[in-house]
């Protein structure tokens, strides 16, 4: 395969460059960049809150902030990270950019709706963050009643409105992706010829569209209860605080899969490209995404095993929770099968992807600890749970995000990034992450509760270890800002297919034109159609 570095004079980046042309664009690629900018801001906002918390936990009595401030910090960390980073991150940035390119389409099905969704996201996001700064909120991101409705002084309603508004942006994105994937596939692209990234974004979108409205209604009722004290969730007026938890987790558990499913998609792309080998078990990976999207709605009760729900409900939800981990296990095995007999190259995206594989496996396995009822009683509400979901969401999802970001960076910007810096950052993230969160598993087993601003002194050593890790992690997360920023101006020009990957997005120029493809491509082969090992040997 010969590589010609064509330097396109016209691309979606250069076509028109007024402020209006960016803020009113309906081009999915530009909207993706708008989202990139916003998401990065929210990520570092949530990150700063996390860093302050880790510093505070250096001493048993709390090193720098009061209990009240600490509670506000973890609430801000949770709200910002969950709703304004993790839930939208991969779909609205990488997804928005890559879905039409992978489909061989010129844009998403509803480009104006796509722009509207960014404005909704920003409105909700800025409103919520402003409220978090202006009044502070100390309920945790879960808003459990009656604490949130009757006992807190924070701006519950304002933050809820912010989340409510940005929820519509999720719904809009979900509708757009699903309809695009159904309607805009290039000629010849059957369902089993789609890249697996599209399957997982499809599954994500199903959850976006069908879970978010339940959250919207929950927030309406929460606001009603907070303002008027009407008694739906208030036991003194005949309501039931557990009703809130049911409604909340009906959304928030599937939301966990909103966060990780797109990461699965990135994994399938990156692992095949850097193994130069077809995916192992395509159909199993594809359908396991769909299975996860469906089963994820059946398991929310596992957040309430010690909350006072019925024993029958606990047992049912425990069984279903074990079931939802089966498709995830299938994926891990299939990715390993993909590495088998490949031609593995260790570029930065691959390092991030291998990091994901390890961290996600740990996160998934510890999930079984809390799905097993008898063990959950001891571990729930402790740092064990904190470590478990950070392994999935930060170790897993953020690693996948970086893998995808580096992988498609040449396509997005038309530039290559400094490879050595990127590899160093990948190693540092893996190391810093484990140092931060592994001690928390032990802390949890020892019984240290989560959301504690101060703690008994015997937990100090492990907490200091965790805080030390978090400084490394913070530095590691800042590195890409600098070297990717540097590459924007000074990076080498990228050819249209720098990784020798398959997939329609690599068949067009880097960066693409506004209309993506001058001629709509026709798909004639399955995805990941790399030469088989035996054919390579014969050729050599």
């Amino acid at each position: 395969m010969s590589v010609t570095v064509d330097t396109p004079r016209v691309s979606y980046l250069t076509e028109e460059n007024t402020i209006g042309s960016w803020l009113l664009t309906t081009d999915h690629k530009r909207i993706a960049l708008l989202y990139f900018a916003s998401i990065t801001g929210f990520f570092f906002l949530g990150g700063i809150a996390a860093a302050l918390m880790r510093i505070n936990l250096l001493t048993p009595t709390g090193a720098i902030v009061s209990h009240e401030m600490y509670n506000r910090l973890f609430t801000m960390h949770g709200v910002v990270m969950v709703w304004f980073f993790l839930v939208p991150a991969i779909p609205v940035t990488l997804g928005n950019f890559i879905v039409p390119l992978m489909l061989g389409a010129r844009d998403l099905a509803f480009p104006k709706l796509n722009l509207v969704s960014w404005y909704l996201f920003m409105t909700g996001g800025l409103f919520a963050t402003y409220s978090l700064f202006a009044g502070g909120l100390d309920t945790g991101w879960t808003f459990y009643t009656p604490l949130s409705t009757d006992y807190t002084k924070g701006h519950v309603v304002a933050v809820a409105i912010g989340i409510f508004i940005s929820g519509f942006s999720s719904i809009a994105t979900g509708v757009n992706f699903i309809v695009s994937i159904h309607r805009l596939r290039a000629p010849g692209m059957g369902w089993y010829r789609m890249p697996l990234m599209l399957w997982s974004l499809y599954a994500t979108s199903v959850i976006y569209v069908l879970a978010t409205p339940v959250l919207a209604m929950t927030l309406i009722l929460l606001g009603f209860e907070t303002v008027f004290h009407v008694g739906i969730f208030d036991q003194r007026l005949g309501g039931d605080p557990l009703l809130f938890q049911h409604l909340f987790w009906f959304y928030s558990h599937p939301a966990v899969y909103i966060m990780i499913l797109p990461g699965f998609g990135v994994m399938s792309e990156v692992l095949t490209t850097f193994s130069q080998k077809g995916i192992f078990g395509y159909k199993f990976i594809a359908w396991s995404s769909v299975a996860i999207a469906v089963i994820s709605f059946f398991v929310w009760g596992h957040h309430m095993f010690v909350a006072g729900t019925s024993v029958y409900s606990a047992i049912t939800f425990s069984l279903l929770s074990f079931m939802v981990s089966v498709p995830s296990a299938i994926k891990v095995f299939n990715w390993l099968g993909t590495l088998h007999k490949g031609y593995i190259k260790f570029d930065a995206p691959m390092l991030y992807a291998l990091g994901f594989l390890g961290l996600f496996t740990i996160g998934g396995l510890t999930g079984l600890f809390v799905a097993a009822l008898g063990a959950d009683v001891h571990l729930t509400q402790t740092y064990f749970v904190v470590a478990h979901f950070h392994y999935i969401m930060v170790g897993g999802m953020v690693s996948a995000f970086f893998a995808g970001l580096h992988y498609w960076w040449p396509k997005i910007t038309g530039r290559l990034y400094p490879e050595m810096w990127a590899r160093a950052a990948a190693f540092l993230i893996f190391f810093g992450f484990n140092l931060t969160f592994f001690p928390q598993f032990i802390l949890g087993y020892l019984g240290m509760p989560r959301r504690y601003a101060a703690y008994p002194p015997e937990f100090q050593v492990l907490n200091v270890l965790s805080s030390a890790g978090s400084t490394i992690l913070a530095v590691a997360y800042l590195m890409p800002v600098f070297y990717l920023g540097y590459s924007l101006r000074h990076g080498a020009r990228s050819p249209s297919n720098p990784w020798h990957a398959t997939g329609l997005e690599w068949k067009t120029q880097s960066p693409p034109r506004t209309e993506n493809f001058p001629i709509i491509p026709i798909v004639t082969e399955p995805p990941y159609n790399y030469p088989r090992p035996e054919d390579r040997t014969r050729a050599a």
């Binding site: 069908l210 039931d240 557990l242 059946f298 009760g301 309430m304 729900t309 019925s310 029958y312 409900s313």
Partner: protein, 96 residues
């Protein structure tokens, strides 16, 4: 279904069902019947006014998905309150 006559039939049918719904609720006091009538009316609206039978399979899938997940919410959501037992504190030497 197309053209005026079926549309008119559907509309009259809906009003008749409304009358029956009201009558049965006021006379029979059976809680479930009203909702059944409501569902029947909804079905007529979906068939006659939303013209679901003309829709593509894709639209059928989307509608069915909404209904399916609604059933999940109702079924699993009510599992806990319907099986919850209030604490009965056993006492020793209880005459019961």
């Amino acid at each position: 279904m197309s053209g005026w006559p079926p549309l008119l039939v559907a509309w009259i049918g809906l009003l008749v069902l409304l009358a029956l719904e009201l009558g049965s609720a006021l006379l029979l006091h059976l809680p479930a019947t009203a909702s059944l009538f409501g569902m029947a009316q909804a079905a007529i609206v979906v068939i006659a006014f939303m013209r679901i039978r003309r829709g593509s399979p894709l639209m059928h899938i989307f509608g069915a998905a909404g209904l399916f997940w609604l059933i999940v919410l109702l079924a699993l959501g009510n599992l806990d309150p319907l099986t919850r037992t209030d604490l009965i504190v056993q006492t020793t030497g209880n005459p019961r």
